[in-house]
Symmetry: C2
Subunit: 251 residues, 2 copies
C-alpha cells in the first residue's frame, strides 16, 4: 500500500483524493488543507489537519496548492526518505530540491469539482530527481489506472502553454459562442454537436489538415458579414486576429 | 419517397448524398456537379450530370455549393413546384426567392470527406417561405434521423459566426497546441484527453462557469512565463488578446 499525504484541496487535490481513495493499492493517510473546513466532510475517510507540523510519515507527499505556495509549503515539510512531488504544470521540479527525493506528478487535465474525472483518460506527466522516486510516482500513476509519461520541466512548461490554448482559450471561444447565441435567442446547446465533432476530429486528423472556414478560404464577403454581426469590440478583435493567424499558418 | 436532386459535391454535398442514399424514405434521384469526375464513382448509385439543363423533376432541390454560386445556380433552375433549398450558414433565404417554394437546409456541423458524420447528432437549421415547404424540409430532416429547428436568416447568420468561433477558431487553437508540442518533442496526442474533456464540459457546465487558468486568476508570473515560451509573434499576440478577453469577460 502506497501511503500518501495529500496537501491541498483545490480542484486537483479534490479529484486526486477521490481517485486515491478509490484505488486498492494506495491510500491518503492524511489530508492537509490550510482551511480545514473544506475537508471536514472527509474526516471519516482519512485523517485531516490544518497544521503542517502534524504531518505523518508517508511514501509520497503530494503538494497540490497554488503555484506560488509550493515552495513555502515544501520547505516546511520534514519528508525524510519520502518523495515530495507537486502537481503543477509550470513550476520547475527544482523548487523541491531541499528534499532527498522529489518530483512532479502533473495531471494534464481540466478539473472542476462539479464534474467527475476518468483517471483512465488522464495523462500523468512525471519527473523525479532519481530513478527510484520516478518508479514510485509511476507506480502511484498505475494504481490510478492513468497513462503516464516522462516529461522534463522545460517540456512540461511548454505543455502547460499548449494546454492553455486547447483548454482555457478554447473554453473562452465556447463562451463567446454562448454569448452570440444568447444575443440572438438561440439555445447554446445547438452548438454542442459541432463542439464535440471539432474536438473528436483531432483523434484522426491533424488540426492543420482539419482546418476549414471563411478565414482559410479567404472568403472576404463572409468575413465582413461576420464582423458586422459581432457587437462586442473584443470579439471583433479576436475574430480579426484569429483569421489573420489562420491565413498566416496556411500561407 | 422524397425525391431529391442534389447540387454540388463538396464536403456537405458528399455527406448529404451518403445520408440520403442510406435513408429509406428519401432518395437522390440525380446528383449534379460542375466537375463530373468527382461524382463518377457514384454513377451506379444515382443518375449523375454536369448540366443544369438536364435536371429531373424532384420534390426538393438541395443546393450545396460555394456561397457565392448559390444565386447563379438557383436562377438557372426550373424547379416548378419543387422546393429549392440551400445548405449555407450565412446566405439569406431570399437569394432563392425567384422560386415558388424555397428554403434553407443548413447542417450545423463540420464536414471532412475523410470522416463519417452521425446525422443523429447533426442539428439541421430549417427555414422556408411557406408552411408546406417547411414541412417537407422537416420531413427530409426526420428521414435522416436528424434533430431540426426553425432558424430564420438573421439567427442563422449569427449562428454561423458562433460556429466559426467554436469550430474554425477552436481548431486553430488546437493547431497552435500541436505546433508547440512539435517544437518541444511532445506527442500532440497527450493533449487529446484535455481537448475531449474541455469539449465535453459544455454539456453540463456553461463555459462561463467552466473557465479556469492563469488569465482568469490573473496569475502574472505564469502569464509572463508563457509568453517567454512562445516563439511565434502571432501566438504571443493571440495569447495576449485571449487573456485580455477572458479578464474583461470575468471583470
Amino acid at each position: 500500500m502506497i501511503k500518501v499525504v495529500l496537501i491541498g484541496a483545490g480542484n486537483v487535490g479534490f479529484h486526486l483524493f477521490q481517485a486515491i481513495y478509490k484505488s486498492e493499492k494506495a491510500e491518503v493517510i492524511q489530508w492537509f488543507n490550510r482551511n480545514k473546513e473544506t475537508i471536514i466532510p472527509h474526516s471519516k475517510d482519512t485523517s485531516i489537519t490544518d497544521k503542517l507540523s502534524e504531518l505523518q510519515s508517508a511514501d509520497i507527499y503530494l503538494i497540490s496548492v497554488a503555484d506560488t505556495s509550493i515552495r513555502d509549503i515544501s520547505i516546511k515539510l520534514n519528508a525524510q526518505d519520502g518523495i515530495v512531488a507537486h502537481t503543477a504544470g509550470s513550476v520547475p521540479v527544482d523548487v523541491l530540491k531541499t528534499h532527498k527525493n522529489y518530483g512532479v506528478f502533473y495531471p494534464l487535465q481540466t478539473f472542476s469539482k462539479q464534474k467527475k474525472i476518468d483517471f483512465k483518460q488522464l495523462p500523468l506527466c512525471l519527473e523525479a530527481n532519481n530513478d527510484s522516486s520516478y518508479t514510485s510516482l509511476e507506480l502511484l500513476a498505475k494504481t490510478l489506472n492513468s497513462p503516464c509519461c516522462k516529461i522534463d520541466s522545460k517540456q512540461r512548461k511548454a505543455l502547460h502553454v499548449a494546454a492553455v490554448f486547447v483548454n482555457n482559450f478554447t473554453n473562452h471561444l465556447y463562451a463567446i459562442g454562448e454569448e452570440i447565441c444568447n444575443e440572438h435567442n438561440l439555445p447554446f446547446s445547438i452548438l454542442e454537436p459541432l463542439i464535440a465533432e471539432t474536438a473528436s476530429k483531432v483523434k484522426t486528423l491533424s488540426p492543420k489538415i482539419a482546418q476549414t472556414g471563411p478565414a482559410l478560404r479567404n472568403d472576404l464577403i463572409t468575413l465582413e458579414n461576420h464582423l458586422d454581426i459581432l457587437t462586442q469590440k473584443k470579439h471583433q478583435e479576436l475574430y480579426n486576429l484569429l483569421t489573420k493567424s489562420i491565413q498566416e499558418k496556411h500561407g
